[in-house]
Amino acid sequence: MEAIHLWWIGDGDPGPRTLEHVRNHLARALGLPVRVFEDPARPADAWDARRKQWSTSRILAWLAHAGPPGKVLAVTDQDLFIPILTFVFGEAQLDGRAAVVSTARLGEPGLPDPRVALERLAKEAVHEVGHCFGLVHCDSPGCVMGRSSTARDVDRKRGEFCSRCRDHVSRRGGGA
């Protein structure tokens, strides 16, 4: 059973609870061991000075060679983009091994409870890793693989796969 690696590549300190919460959530949803990978390397080339954001495609390319073996989810506090969109919460290689997710847009200012943002991060982490298992977006109500364009969309999802997506992950080696 190949473990999934979780790697903090952000600027600030994530705090002890953040990665632990995401790790537990991922392990439960995917039924696979999840290990925190620690390394000071950062994808400096992924910074786009014109857009003042980080390019997800460059991060994913970097993760593929700089990351540990197997599937790897990078977590950051930096704002992410793909060229066609103003921002993204995260991105993954469809049926590939690298994924990235950001906290930058998940906790809007004035959010009364910081646990809401943490919950959103856990859901988006599962979502992006789901893409690495070949899942596309799902329209089953509440499935974590539903498309989220806003934080409100993330709140509407559960943190789990629907039965169809779960079966798909199981067939691809997940133990969910």
Partner: protein, 461 residues
């Protein structure tokens, strides 16, 4: 929302945009491909069907608006979304006018793109549903070339289908232009004789001698000008169907000759002695009241009964107005095939078509649409393009109020009315007016009328 079954073509000269947008859409289950410029996009449109196209406005060579114009022609059902980094109201308005589904400014807000793609998937599923329903409806409302959903015509279809299988003579009754020949042809095509010939003959167009020779043929020297032996329509239709139109107009002598053929199934060529066996199925038609003609003594009763084995009456179009939109669709499909141009009918023009009384029936409707398709500026027919003749009571006179019209004016108006009544059929109009066709053509020219009786629009529209 997922985009399963939705094919998307991304057209952009920047590879990074093609990849990034393609990836985003694939995650939603869309089937995505891309083209790096306008020219290759047009090639892809010619080769394959696309549901959605996301097209960059500013590209070297063929720009996005030109791609949009080509897409409207090649794949009119596809939804085209224009993308640009330079948002100007002008280009947005132009794109929308040219039929773009929507317009996005790069980079897109994820929510905006997501909502737009949801809209497009819904719209495309409606397009698909609409096409399936239209196809099903067309099939349901068709009997080969006949199109109708009216209960009266549905009964005609049923009767004709049953009658086609027999060998009995069929008498088709109906006003001029109501589709008697189309029905006869349909019966032939549905019959076991469909591999044989279908021969149509109008009995009103010719003199008695000529008609006799046309129907039964003649031997050499049978009359002045008969330089050789010639087979008649009965022989020509052997093994198939002979359609005798305007049967109510034949002379008493020909009525007798025809009766003999129907009884004996043999014809005798004019000037000949040997009877020739004929194997034809007769479909006769008339717009006259044959029963009344029998009562008046102008039509043989025995012939009437021979012809009236299976009578089928085609209702006039004014009694089945519900068929007008269906027939419009049918004729526009045909015109599209002929003219390589799809013309639509504006709601106002459709109201005018529904309000018209159609004295010339389906033939008149076909002529009106043909004219409209030719005259229409662009691809939408307006009421003024149809050139529908005003109701006779409202026909404007050129005389001053209170002053009686001149004889010439009355004649002109009458000729126009009769032509409108026959739906532009000059032969019938000449017969109704009691003049020959050449005289009628001269009058049409003299009064500058068109064949459908309408006076030309002085504005030239």
């Amino acid at each position: 929302m997922t985009g399963r079954d939705t094919r998307v073509l991304v057209v952009d000269d920047e590879e990074i945009v093609r990849e990034s947008l393609g990836g985003w859409l694939r995650e939603d289950g869309f089937e995505v491909d891309s083209a790096p410029d306008g020219k290759s996009a047009v090639e892809r449109m010619k080769a394959e069907r696309w549901n959605v196209m996301l097209v960059d406005l500013k590209m070297p060579g063929m720009d996005g608006l030109q791609v949009l114009e080509e897409a409207r022609k090649l794949q009119p059902d596809a939804a085209i979304i224009m993308m640009t980094a330079y948002a100007t109201v002008d280009t947005a308005v132009t794109a929308m006018k040219l039929g773009a589904f929507d317009y996005l400014v790069k980079p897109f807000d994820p929510e905006e793109l997501s909502i737009l793609m949801q809209k497009v998937v819904t719209q495309q599923s409606l397009v698909r549903e609409n096409a399936v329903l239209r196809k099903a409806l067309k099939k349901e409302h068709r009997f080969r070339d006949l199109v109708s959903k009216s209960p009266a015509m549905q009964r005609v279809f049923e009767l004709a289908q049953v009658a086609a299988r027999s060998n009995s003579t069929i008498l088709v009754l109906g006003e001029s232009g109501s589709g008697k020949e189309v029905l006869a042809r349909t019966i032939h095509e549905e019959s076991p004789r469909s591999q044989g010939p279908f021969v149509a003959m109008s009995c009103a167009a010719l003199t008695e001698t000529l008609l006799e020779s046309e129907l039964f043929g003649h031997e050499r020297g049978a009359f002045t000008g008969a330089t050789g032996r010639r087979k008649g329509k009965f022989e020509a239709a052997s093994g198939g169907t002979l359609f005798l139109d305007e049967i109510g107009d034949i002379s008493p002598k020909l009525q007798l000759d025809l009766l003999r053929v129907l009884e004996e199934r043999k014809v005798q060529r004019v000037g000949g002695n040997e009877p020739v066996d004929v194997d034809v199925r007769i479909v006769a038609a008339t717009n006259k009241d044959l029963r009344k003609a029998v009562a008046d003594g102008t039509f043989r009763e025995d012939l009437y009964y021979r012809l009236n084995v299976i009578p089928v009456t085609l209702p006039p179009l004014r009694e089945r107005k519900e068929d007008v939109p269906l027939l419009v669709e049918h004729f526009l499909d045909r015109l599209e095939a002929e003219m390589k141009k799809r013309v639509k009918v504006s709601p106002e023009a459709m109201s005018a078509l529904l309000a018209h009384d159609w004295p010339g029936n389906v033939r008149e409707l076909r002529n009106v649409l043909e004219r409209g398709a030719v005259v229409a500026q662009g691809d939408v027919m307006k009421p003024s393009d149809l050139g529908l003749a005003p109701a006779p009571a409202r026909a404007p006179g050129t005389n001053a109020p209170g002053e009686p019209p001149s004889l010439e004016e009355v004649e002109k108006r009458h000729v126009a009315e009769v032509l409108a009544h026959t739906g532009g059929n000059v032969t019938q109009a000449a017969r109704l007016l009691g003049i020959d066709r050449v005289t009628l053509y001269n009058k049409i020219r003299k009064f500058q009328l068109r064949r459908d009786g309408e006076e030309p629009d002085p504005a030239g529209g």
